[in-house]
Every structure is written in C-alpha cells, then in structure tokens.
C-alpha cells in the first residue's frame, strides 16, 4: 500500500483553488467539501429531486431509493447492525438533544444520574441540562487530572453511583485529546449504563466500528466530515432507539393520526419527522464514499506528521503555552502566547491569512477548569500540507514579535 498523498488529496477540494491565499486550520469547526459531494448535491437537485416515501410516482420512488441507499452506505461505514439504526438528524447537536429528551421520558427517572466528562462540547452538556432540572436527574462530570486527561480513578468512583447514561466525546474539540473510549465504554456498560458517544470530532479521526465499540448511541455531523451542512446522524441500537420518545412530531413519523391520539411509525421513520434533508443525506453518503477510498491509518500517520512538524516548530517560538496533549491527539493543537489574549493572537494570524479560532471553543466549563480565558486552536485536516504548517509557524512567530514589541 502506497503512502498517503496529501497533495493529491487536496486536489479533490475546489475551495483551495478558489482561496489560494488562505491557510485553513479551522477544520474542527467545519471542513471543506470534495468535488464528489458537490456533484452529488447538484445532480440530485437537477435530475432526481423529489420528496421521499410518500410518492405514488417513480421520481419519488427513485428519490426514496437514493435516500435509503444513503442510509445503508452510512450503516456500512460505521458497521451498524441494520440501516434502521441510522437516524438522519440535522447534526450532532440535534442528535444529542433527541437522545436527552427521548431518554428522559422513558429510561431516566427522578434521582437518576447521567455521567459526562470535563472535556465535553456544549452540545453534550446543555442538551442534558435542558431536561435534568425539570426531571430531577443529576449530571455528574468526570474531572481532569493534572495532565488535563480524564481522571480514570474518579471515573471508576463515579461509576459506582450507577449512572443510567454515560455520554462521552470521542475526541475533545477544544484540545484534540483522544479519549480511551474502548475501556471507558466497557466499564460503563459493566456498570449497567447506556453509553453515548459524541463522535462529531471522532469520526474524522477514526472509522468507528459499532459492532466493536461498546456504544449504544453514536452521533456525528456531516459538515465536519467533508459533507454538507444541515445533516447528521444519530446511530442507536434498535432496542434503545425504540425506547426514545420522539423529539419531533409530524409527517412520516406516525402510523395513525386522529385528533385525539397518534401512534408512532416504525424505525427509522419514527424518529425522522417531516421532510428530511434529502440532498444532505445523499451528500453525506457521497462524503463517506469519498473518504472510504483512503486508508484511515495512513491518514492518521499523516496527521501525526503534521502535528510533529508543528510541535517541532513551536519549540523555536518563545512564550508558547500548549494546552493540548501531544500523545493521542487527533490533530488539534490549542495554545496561548504567555500573557497575551487569544483573540489578539488570532487577529494577527488572520492578518496573515491563517484561519484559526480563538476563545473557549464551546467548552466553557473546560476552560473554567483550566482557569484559562481562552486559547488559539489549530485544527489540521489531511488536505493541509507540511508547507502550510511551516507558514503557519512563521506567522505565529511574527505575531509573537508584534505582540512583544
């Protein structure tokens, strides 16, 4: 097997030809889209557009087939047991909210506990909080150790409180930390919990195998995986999906409606109310087919190479304080310049056309724990080139000089 060719990979993405001056390192926020995805969207709207499921005509039946094929494509990629375990949502946030709402009414009872980690994105905090108080459910948090890793002995302790749900991110969007999910999920299952994985960042780092991973639910967004905006996935084991109260009521998700009562349809329709984002589903499947052409382990090695180049370069810039771990890092480096505000650093990088993000990265509680007002985040993707990392290092040096003067 030949090595990963980053320059060739980059050729699939029209954005870089359109914006040749920019170095895009905001990949944890959203990624660019390959031709294959754009062509799928365009082709659908031009030639295949129709509503799904309810049509008596062939155009609608064709659209339905395409939509259900997209579901199967995703099912195969994540190795779910059957297509009906893939529920299309508008994104990770919507998926986590469907989960939180859906479990509150069925699985969770007042006094029950939910366990999340200190590394969670707001989507995996606020979605639970919205309902916790109302339902009298308690939210526990796995703390960090001094290395900013999850404190595994505290985790074990918290499991003895018998949380009904353990919901963990696969990769920290703020620090890039890859969580030791395999063992943590197994421990959670052994303690009798329902396990949820926020895979928004994780699915970009590693192809999930949902027959291996002890995850009952797994969520991700299309736009972070080279796919369109407005589409995402809630994977769940059938028996558990069937226990979720639907968050949305409407067309398709019911079997019988009368003014006094409605009965729900079967999966997956039960959890997909209204006209779905058909083009989005097709686009996400196209992104997954695209990425399947490449070898995940080669992409991982290449990302490690980008990280190493960045790491080595940072050694020559005085005053750099790195928050991210260098081990088990999915390609995200968050740092500060000693004594400087992250917004100032990002402004000076922007001036040099380096696209990064500053602030608390939708992980305010984590930054509170770290007692840090914010940080600059560099998130690498396989279309980034070694030369871009080098330019970025130069720009950072320049920024440091200006701020120091």
């Amino acid at each position: 097997m030949s090595d990963f060719n980053a320059a060739a990979f980059r050729q699939h993405f029209p954005f870089f030809a359109a914006q040749p001056d920019w170095i895009y390192l905001d990949n944890a926020a959203t990624t660019h889209k390959p031709f294959a995805v754009l062509e799928t969207l365009d082709h659908f709207y031009r030639q295949q557009n129709s509503n799904v499921h309810r049509g008596a005509h062939k155009l609608s039946q064709m659209a339905t087939i395409l939509y259900e094929e997209a579901r199967s494509c995703i099912q195969q990629y994540v190795n779910a047991a059957e297509p009906a375990e893939i529920i299309f949502t508008s994104g990770t946030t919507a998926a986590l909210n469907q989960l939180a709402f859906g479990l509150m009414h069925t699985v969770l009872k007042p006094g029950d506990r939910i366990l999340i980690s200190a590394l969670e994105h707001h989507a995996n905090i606020v979605s639970w909080q919205l309902h916790c108080q109302r339902f009298g459910v308690i939210l526990d948090v796995i703390p960090l150790d001094s290395q900013l890793q999850l404190d595994q002995s505290a985790f074990e302790q918290l499991l003895t409180l018998h949380p009904k749900v353990v919901s963990l991110t696969q990769v920290s969007n703020a620090l890039g930390t890859v969580l030791p999910l395999a063992s943590m999920l197994q421990a959670a299952k052994a303690a009798g919990a329902i396990t949820v994985v926020d895979g928004a960042q994780g699915i970009v780092w590693d192809k999930p195998d949902l027959q291996q991973l002890a995850a009952d639910f797994y969520c991700f967004s299309g736009h972070k995986l080279y796919g369109p905006t407005g589409i995402g996935v809630l994977y769940g084991k059938r028996a558990l999906l069937e226990r979720l109260t639907p968050l949305l009521g409407g067309g398709e998700m019911i079997e019988q409606v009368s003014f006094s009562h409605s009965s729900f349809n079967h999966l997956p329709a039960r959890l997909e109310a209204g006209t779905p984002h058909i083009a989005g589903a097709l686009g996400l499947a196209a992104a997954i087919r695209f990425i399947s052409q490449f070898d995940v382990s080669q992409i991982k090695s290449y990302k490690r190479l980008l990280l190493k180049t960045f790491h080595d370069g940072l050694q020559h810039i005085p005053g750099i304080v790195v928050l991210s771990p260098w081990q088990d890092n999915a390609g995200i480096v968050t740092l500060n310049l000693q004594g400087e505000h992250s917004a100032d650093v990002a402004t000076l990088l922007n001036e040099q056309r380096i696209a990064v993000r500053a602030g608390r990265h939708c992980a305010m509680p984590l930054f509170d724990l770290m007692a840090t007002a914010g940080a600059v985040r560099f998130a690498f993707a396989p279309y980034n080139q070694i030369s871009e990392v080098e330019q970025c290092l130069k720009a950072l040096t320049q920024a440091a000089e200006i701020l120091a003067s």
Binding site: A56, Q61, T64, N265
Partner: protein, 148 residues
C-alpha cells in the same frame, strides 16, 4: 367465510393464475392490456371479509391498505397465505407474488428470488417501483411471519 374456505379458495385461484394468467403476461402486451390483466387476475383471489380485516393482519408500509393471513401446516412444514388489498392493481401484483410463494416450505421461501421471478414475466419494473409501497412491504411481512 372460514379461514379454511379462504385458504382453499386462494389455492384454487392461484392454480388458475399460474396456468392461465402468467403465460399470458409473458406475451408482448401494451401497458394498458397488462394492467387490465393484472386487475382481472387480482379479482380471482377471494376477498377477505370486512370483519377479518383487522389491524393485526394489516401490512404496514402499503400506500393502500392490504391484509395478510398466514397459516403454517405443521404436518407438512408448508406455509399458506390469504391476502387482500383495497387497490386493484396492487392486489393483482400481490396475487402474482402469492402464486410464487404459497405452499412453500420455510427453506424454499428463503431461497426464492422474487426479482428473478418477476423479471421472467417482464414485470420487473412493477416490482422496483413498488419498493416503497405494497409489494416489498408484503414480502417483508411474509418473511416476518416465518420467523414467528
């Protein structure tokens, strides 16, 4: 109307369909004639009386309502069905399907390639069109019955 009566009327109708209608369907026909034939063919199957059209026999996923009754003959290990549909064309297509599956054993039913069978009758287009409505739902339902 008893279940026995329905089963035996269905078997008789399916025999006639196999002998008379299927060979006719294989002839080159314009689409209008094909649909006329389909509807005639559906009429041959006995109607399930209103009081037997209960929710538990209703097949989900059909645009028009359809009902399926299942009978497993333990002594010979064979599966028999009675079916009905509100829609005449759907009933015709379902009748053809039933002519392939009625009286088979579980093993035989598993091996059946319905696509191929419909193809041989130049009916493949009807099959794939119906993916989202009657036919596929019915086939899934039949397979479901076997596993119970």
């Amino acid at each position: 109307m008893t279940m026995e009566q329905l089963l035996s009327d269905t078997a008789t109708a399916l025999a006639a369909i196999r002998q008379q209608d299927l060979p006719q369907l294989q002839q080159p026909l314009d689409w209008q004639s094909k649909y006329r034939l389909l509807m005639q063919l559906g009429k041959k199957l006995p109607a399930i009386p209103e009081k037997m059209r209960q929710n538990e026999w209703l097949v989900r996923g059909c645009e028009s309502r359809a009902w399926l009754l299942h009978y497993h003959d333990n002594t010979v290990g064979k599966h028999y069905f009675v079916l009905d549909s509100e829609a005449r064309i759907v009933k015709g297509l379902l009748a053809i399907m039933l002519s392939f599956v009625n009286g088979l054993s579980q093993q035989e039913l598993k091996q059946l390639d319905l696509q191929r069978a419909f193809d041989a009758l130049n009916l493949k287009p009807y099959l794939s069109q119906s993916r989202s409505n009657g036919l596929n739902a019915m086939l899934n339902h039949i397979r479901h019955c076997l596993n119970e």
